[in-house]
Every structure is written in structure tokens, then in C-alpha cells.
């Protein structure tokens, strides 16, 4: 792997020598990468390259898959997230996730956003909870569109609104990291632009890691880009460098559309 001076002084998350296995099959091979709070990090690569697997290992979503095994270390603020003492539910509140397909709960808009705060006991009163819901919806750029219909079902919203609702739901529990797995692949260009604008707004408040097949999107939203291929991290660098002057031949072939 090629790496310039990309050291992040105080990484929010640090992965070192991470390998992920699904039974016998190795999906990720010895990946080390730091994720900083002030930066949006994009993971790109062809289907099956391991980028989503690696993303899911950052908040132990792979635990839910039988036979999945993670080796190496992944730290959140210096704390090993795979340590036996780690509370996985707590971890996933700190490292939130937004999925490819918007997946609001079949509940009201309000309850969707309030859900996490309720189960984590973050709100002390109804007024407190109202405040959390409004702040999260505002940050997700959805408040003005839904403030008069908070009791309506979240599933009644448009696809783009549903995805911003899911982002609001993730934000509501005050996470430190937000993982996004293809958050715009089911959305039209305008809804996509709104999510991208939102990512830009959220940068600095949360460490954001986004997996995307859309290279233009990676170029638009991220400051760091990691290219994965066949389970290895081929190249990690500044987004501007990766897209104008990639060092590795495989990166170049992929981003210029010469891959396979």
C-alpha cells in the first residue's frame, strides 16, 4: 500500500492489521487505517472488494453473521471495540450506521427519531425528548419538511426523506462516528445532493465513513479516500490525490474505468 503523510493526530477510530473471515473465506486481509473526526472518509472499490465488510466491522455489525471472525485491533478513542468488556449496544450508539436502503421503523416520524434516546435513556422528560427530536431532524435537514406531521408514519415519507430520517435517527443518540453504507444508491439525484450537503454539514461534528460505488460521490463528499480490492486496502490518500494522481496502478485502472 502507498501512503503519503496522512497521519491523523488524534484518530477517532484506528484499525490495525484487521482481517475478517466468513468461515474459511477471508474477506479482509490485514487492513490498517485511521479515521479522523474532521474528515469524511470514503471507501471505494468494486463489488466484493470488502469495503462494506470492513465498514461493518467498525461497529461490530458482522457479529450478527454466523461464522464471521475479526482479527487485529479496532479502537474507538483508544478503546478496543472487540474487547470482552465492550457493550455492543453502547458501541453501536457511539458508532451509528445508515444503510443503503432507507429502513425507517413502521412508527411515527417522531418515534423513529426518539427510539434510540428512549432505549438508551438519554431523555429525562418529554420536553427533553422533544428537543432531541427537533435537533436531530434539524441537523438532518428534515425538520422544516416534517415538523407539522411528526405523528405520521416514517414509511410515508419519500425515499430521500426516509434516508434523512434514518440519519436523524442515528444522530439523535449523539454518536461519535457515523458509518454510511451506500446511503444514496436508492435515491434520485436531488435527494442524493441533499444527503451530500448533509454530509458536508455534519463533517466536524462526527467522524463520517461512507462506502459508495459512485466515485463522483466519493470525490464530492470526502477528504480521504481508501481504495479496496480483493480484500486488501490498495491505496489510501487525500481524495484530491486519489482522483487526480493515484499512485497504485490498480487504483488508477479502477477510477478511470479500466477495471476488468
Amino acid at each position: 500500500m502507498t501512503q503519503d503523510d496522512l497521519s491523523i493526530a488524534d484518530p477517532k477510530m484506528r484499525a490495525q492489521g484487521v482481517s475478517v473471515f466468513y468461515g474459511e473465506k477471508q474477506a479482509i486481509n490485514d487492513v490498517s487505517i485511521d479515521v479522523g473526526t474532521d474528515l469524511v472518509t470514503a471507501f471505494i472499490g468494486p463489488s466484493g472488494c470488502g469495503k462494506s465488510t470492513f465498514l461493518r466491522s467498525l461497529n461490530r455489525m458482522n457479529d450478527t453473521i454466523a461464522g464471521a471472525k475479526v482479527t487485529g485491533t479496532i479502537e474507538l478513542d483508544g478503546e478496543d471495540i472487540y474487547a470482552p468488556s465492550m457493550d455492543v449496544v453502547q458501541l453501536r450508539a457511539r458508532v451509528g450506521m445508515v444503510f443503503q436502503k432507507p429502513n425507517p421503523f413502521p412508527k411515527s416520524i417522531y418515534d423513529n427519531v426518539a427510539y434510540g434516546s428512549r432505549i438508551h435513556g438519554l431523555a429525562s422528560s418529554k420536553a427533553d425528548l422533544d428537543g432531541i427530536v427537533e435537533r436531530a431532524l434539524t441537523r438532518a435537514g428534515l425538520w422544516d419538511e416534517v415538523k407539522d406531521r411528526l405523528t405520521e408514519s416514517g414509511t410515508a415519507l419519500s425515499g430521500g426523506q426516509q434516508q434523512r430520517l434514518c440519519i436523524a435517527r442515528a444522530i439523535a443518540v449523539d454518536p461519535e462516528v457515523i458509518l454510511m453504507d451506500e446511503p444514496c444508491s436508492a435515491l434520485d439525484p436531488i435527494a442524493t445532493a441533499k444527503i451530500e450537503e448533509l454530509i458536508h454539514e455534519l463533517r466536524g461534528k462526527y467522524a463520517i465513513v461512507i462506502v459508495t460505488h459512485n466515485m463522483q460521490q466519493a470525490a464530492r463528499v470526502s477528504q480521504r479516500t481508501a481504495f479496496f480490492h480483493l480484500g486488501t486496502l490498495v491505496e489510501y490518500g487525500k481524495t484530491t490525490d486519489i482522483f487526480t494522481n493515484p499512485k497504485a496502478e490498480r487504483t488508477k485502472d479502477y477510477i478511470t474505468g479500466r477495471y476488468g
Binding site: 463522483q216 487526480t244 494522481n245 488508477k252 479500466r258
Partner: protein, 240 residues
Amino acid sequence: MAVVNEHTVKAFDEDLNRLRGLISEMGGRAEQALIQAMAALSKGDQELAAQVVMGDKKIDALEAEVEQLTVQTIALRAPMADDLREMIAALKIVSVVERIGDYAKNIAKRVALMDQTRSIEAIPVLMSMSSLVAELVHDALDSFAARDAELAVRVTVRDKNVDDFYNSIFRTLVTFMMENPKHITESAHLLFVAKNLERMGDHATNIAEMVYYVVTGERMEERERGETPEGAASAEQEEG
């Protein structure tokens, strides 16, 4: 040069090949314009000179075509990395080649204004200088076609010899004018011809620098071009 794989979208490669073809044709025409303008000058061939002047229209048209195709390709194919660098280089290279064509046209236009030049001793040196410049233009465009960064570096190094020619011709002509006041007009024209050739050499260097950028992704450093010879800029302070 590195082996370059084809794009998954073949139409992209077709666009790139068309772009390279146009630039190559444009470069060939500019090089020919230079050679013919100098031949017209040395023989006093006004007909050939007129051809060069006319031919410049085609060079200008090719520049416009390359610009249009480049903008289209950027809009439709969203090129990245070396493809993107090639688009930017293509735009800059054609504007430089267009200037080379203009200088050739300018030389050709001077043919009609001179009739006693054949007796001036600077002419053979000017011819040697123009052969070198034509070679540099040729090699710069070859380095673009072949993605050859080393050839590009050699072009910039050899441009120093063009500067030496220019300084030598400058001194020769100034001396000649002092000794032959009757020939000052012709000599002044030849001085402009020499200056045009020197500028063309610089433009060949500009092309080479763009090629280096396309191939390596880095700007060509001053040290890559070798040492600046002593007094290269002494004949004329204004160029800096």
C-alpha cells in the same frame, strides 16, 4: 511507457483516440508550416509563403475542434486521474500549437517584405536554428503521442541550444546592421524571425512540460531540465 489498459466503456477510448489524432494532425501541420515558412524565406518563394499563411486557418480550426471535443469528453465521461490530466493537457497543448502556427505564419508574411536577405550571413544559421526548433516541436508532440516523459525532458534540455542560437544570431545581426546600414530593414525582419523561432522552442518546452505532467502527475522540476547555460538570457533582458 506503461502499458495502458482499455476502458470498460470502449466509446471513451474512441473519444481519446480521436482527440490524440486531432492533436497529432495539428502538430504535424504546425511543424510543416515552420519548415515551409523557413524554406520560403531562404528561397524568397512568395507562393510557398502564401500557402503557409492560408494553411494557418486549418490549424486554428483544429484547435477549435479539440477544444470542443475536450469539453464534451469532460462533460460526458467524467475522466479521472491520467485521463483527466490528459484532457487538461490537450487544452493547453493545442493553444500552444496554435501559437507555433501563428509564428510560422508571421515568418511567412515577412518573406514578401524582404528581397536582399540572401546576402545576409545570418540566414544559414537561422536555417539551422529552425531545423532544431522543428525537431523539438516534432519530438514534443511525439512524446505526447507516446506518453514518453523522458523524451519530454530531453526536449526541454535541448531548448537551451535554441536559446544559444538566438543569442548568437542576435549578436551577428546587430553587428551586421552597424556595418551595413542599408540592410537594416531586412536585418530587423530577420531578428524577428529569430525571435519567433526562439519563442517556438519555448512553446515546444511548454508542450513537453504538459506531457510530463500527464505521464507522471507531477510538474517538471527545474532541475530535470539541466543547468541553465551561462549568459543564456544576456542578449535580451526583457524575457527574464
